[in-house]
């Protein structure tokens, strides 16, 4: 019971989460772009940085926002600043959370809505070597109340051996194997930040 209450997302947690994610992206910007070089176009770090700068600016502008306004501001910043593939995907994820956060504030529920949105937007399934390969185990484990950092990291690392079926990496066919998926790694940072922010107990 107590546990369930603590799992509910609040504006404070989301703000903290975004702050930590912003820091992680700042720190790993070059690395993410580097991951995007052999199997993409080398911009994922820059894209995410532009987006998180927008999120930071957007959240700062809000006055006493509720959860829905907070998620919406994040979604809008991501949609209008990131571009590329990551923009619509991350943007859609937060838009779905905004749409559904009045009904439930449980991360397990909200992240499932987000994941459904990502899958619908991009058409990717598990195993296609995209951020879906991180979001799916996260959602599954949250449902079972088992999410820990190791699960997230293992999921991101698991994309290394996959052959890409969606996104730019898919043009490489078999040669995409052996490289981490940059979107999976940025999603890993997203969930690491989420856990650090106290998103789950």
């Amino acid at each position: 019971m107590v546990k369930e209450k603590m799992d509910m997302l609040t504006v404070e947690i989301v703000n903290k989460w975004m702050e930590l994610f912003y820091e992680k992206i700042s720190e790993k910007k070059a690395y993410l772009s580097e991951l995007d070089t052999p199997i993409g176009d080398g911009d994922h770090g820059n894209n995410m940085m532009r987006g998180m700068q927008g999120v930071k600016d957007g959240l700062e502008k809000l006055e006493n926002p509720d959860l829905k306004e907070t998620f919406k501001a994040i979604a809008m910043a991501l949609i209008s600043k990131v571009g590329g593939a990551a923009g619509p995907l991350y943007g859609t994820a937060f838009l779905e959370m905004a749409k559904n956060c009045e009904e439930s504030q449980a991360p397990a529920d909200l992240f499932r809505y987000a994941l459904d949105g990502i899958k619908k937007r991009g058409g990717a399934s598990v195993g296609d070597k995209t951020l879906v390969d991180v979001w799916t185990p996260v959602v599954d484990n949250l449902g079972k109340d088992e999410l820990v950092v190791e699960v997230v990291q293992k999921a991101a690392e698991g994309t290394k051996n996959l052959v890409a079926k969606k996104g730019r990496a898919s043009y490489l066919g078999e040669r995409s194997a052996g490289h981490l998926d940059p979107g999976a790694v940025s999603s890993c940072y997203l969930f690491e930040s989420f856990i650090e922010a106290g998103g789950i107990k």
């Binding site: 176009d41 080398g42 911009d43 820059n46 949609i79 571009g83 890409a164 730019r168």
Partner: protein, 331 residues
Amino acid sequence: MKKIINNPGDVVPEMIDGLVRSYPQIVARIPETQAVMRSDKESMIGKVGIISGGGSGHEPSHPGFVGKGMLSAAVAGQVFTSPTPDQIYEAIKAVDAGKGVFLVIKNYSGDVMNFDMAKDMAELDDIRVKSIVVDDDIAVENSLYTQGKRGVAGTVLIHKLVGAAADQGASLDEIEQLAKEALPNISTIAVALSAATVPEVGKPGFELPDDEIEYGVGIHSEPGYRREKIKTSKELVKELLSKIDKKLKLDVTHKYAVLVNGMGATPLMEQYIFSHDLLNQLKVKDIEPKFMKVGNYMTSIDMAGISLTIFDLKKEKWLEYLNYPVETIAW
């Protein structure tokens, strides 16, 4: 990285500013966006709007093709990064003249998703929007289970077709039909001598040794299908033409249009030599293109290389559209 730029993060806004202010008689910026539209707004009255766009770094694509007879607007994203839906949405609103708007999208996850989101937004405003996803690059095999082929230089030919049709008063449905019919007849394939350097990255997308080339690269320095020692122009043409022949089954009874496209750092000298070899090898099949263009149309920043596009002109009308007069910076 040695480039004539200021802050790498300012490349796109500064470039778009330079472009519109250099050619104010042709293009104007859509306020508060990275999108440009025709200055000659009257040329759009009563016509379907045509919008293209995508990541920057492909100049003169896409703003260079905005103007009477071709695009109504072009939306520029960050370098090699799809523009965002809000920008595309602004462009849609700016060019809609009540007849609907047609979007020319290149087949990349990012472009497809961002343009789709913009379409959703516009439809809420009751603007009719249709689109084509161009996938002319035959270096990547098509497949139901992957992203499919990429959109590259052939996109410019689609711009030309739909732009001409729109100028002649075609409806949104007719334009969609035209693009759908023409697209499978356009095939492109490229060869790279070096990769592009994204300003914010600062180093080339891949390294090619001093004596090697790569077939089948994309316009974002996506790796291709084979790396080899540098060959003569004749042999490069042979390789690229054979791939296209396999796809289009070149036939003396058909008419063809050809686009020889420089990737950014390859001088016209080399493009014309390539064209010479291409025309010789087509001649062996008794084919003489009915329409041809040689130059930098869909570049990849400062990549050295060439792409070859062949368009099987199954309909006489398509050739007319290619020859239809336009007022753009770069066609």
